[in-house]
Symmetry: C2
Subunit: 185 residues, 2 copies
Amino acid sequence: MSESIDVVSSQQLGGLLQMTPAQIRKDLSYFGRFGKQGRGYDVRFLLHELQEILGLDREWRACLVGVGRLGRAIINYPGFYRENFRIVAAFDGDRAQVGSTIGEFNVQSMDELSDTVIDKKISIGIVAVPAQQAQNVIDVLIENNIKGILNYAPVAAKVPMNIVVRNIDPVLSLQSMTFYLRELE
Amino acid sequence: MSESIDVVSSQQLGGLLQMTPAQIRKDLSYFGRFGKQGRGYDVRFLLHELQEILGLDREWRACLVGVGRLGRAIINYPGFYRENFRIVAAFDGDRAQVGSTIGEFNVQSMDELSDTVIDKKISIGIVAVPAQQAQNVIDVLIENNIKGILNYAPVAAKVPMNIVVRNIDPVLSLQSMTFYLRELE
């Protein structure tokens, strides 16, 4: 959203987000503090409030499990830091990797996960291990009070209801397109 | 799904997919050829039919645009090939990259995209360019009759209704978790 306007209407927001203005108003009113009938939304105020509601006004700490090619790419990806997500520890189940250095990290053994999660106030686990190890790693993270899982392994993880999982699997994404692509041919 | 059973009930499928048996039966009946009252589904037949319906019984060809660190990781990722998605060409807008070799690919200039898409029967474009170039690259792909976009750039692409886009953006995935994580704290 451009920083150069002070007020935005539900019409304008709807256009940007490809939603109806009515839906925009309804969604925002769910949180109940934005409406200024006939005037629109103060951009700076709206942005601030939304960031707070969404929990994006603070830093979130994550640990990475799996330091293979994918894990190393994740550690080196600058996008997380820019948006206040900070990887603060890296683990691997492979003893050959433990103790090696990647960027600023010493790769730790899974035995150290419990203490590290508490010490470093980690709330998100990033899973970058092979498919057949993923469920086990996710179970260990959940046992250690991790509530959010960013899962790069190509498996549908089984987790309790109160755990939030997001899957990053490009093959699954491609497979979810082909039904529509076939119809378009 | 285990290959060692011949018949599966909607009850069993529902358990595996965390859905109700009624929803399983309803969803499958939409395609109208599976029901065997009281007996369940023949696994081999169901798998074959679903693969055909979903367009997963054939090869799909993709081109990659952007051969930076991310693009190179994508080219080297074995998961696509295993599931019948084949990257058959790589492009980059940066003249310094054009002509270089990555694996089996000669990196091509964007000028060659039109002809290559036709010659190699490409239907999917994988976008691995920086955010500020992504919309332009996506527009070029669509102009050249690409109907499916796998977008790794952290932007919400604007595309016509008949284009299928899937976004692979880990930061967006993390940002969509924090609202729930905050509530759990």
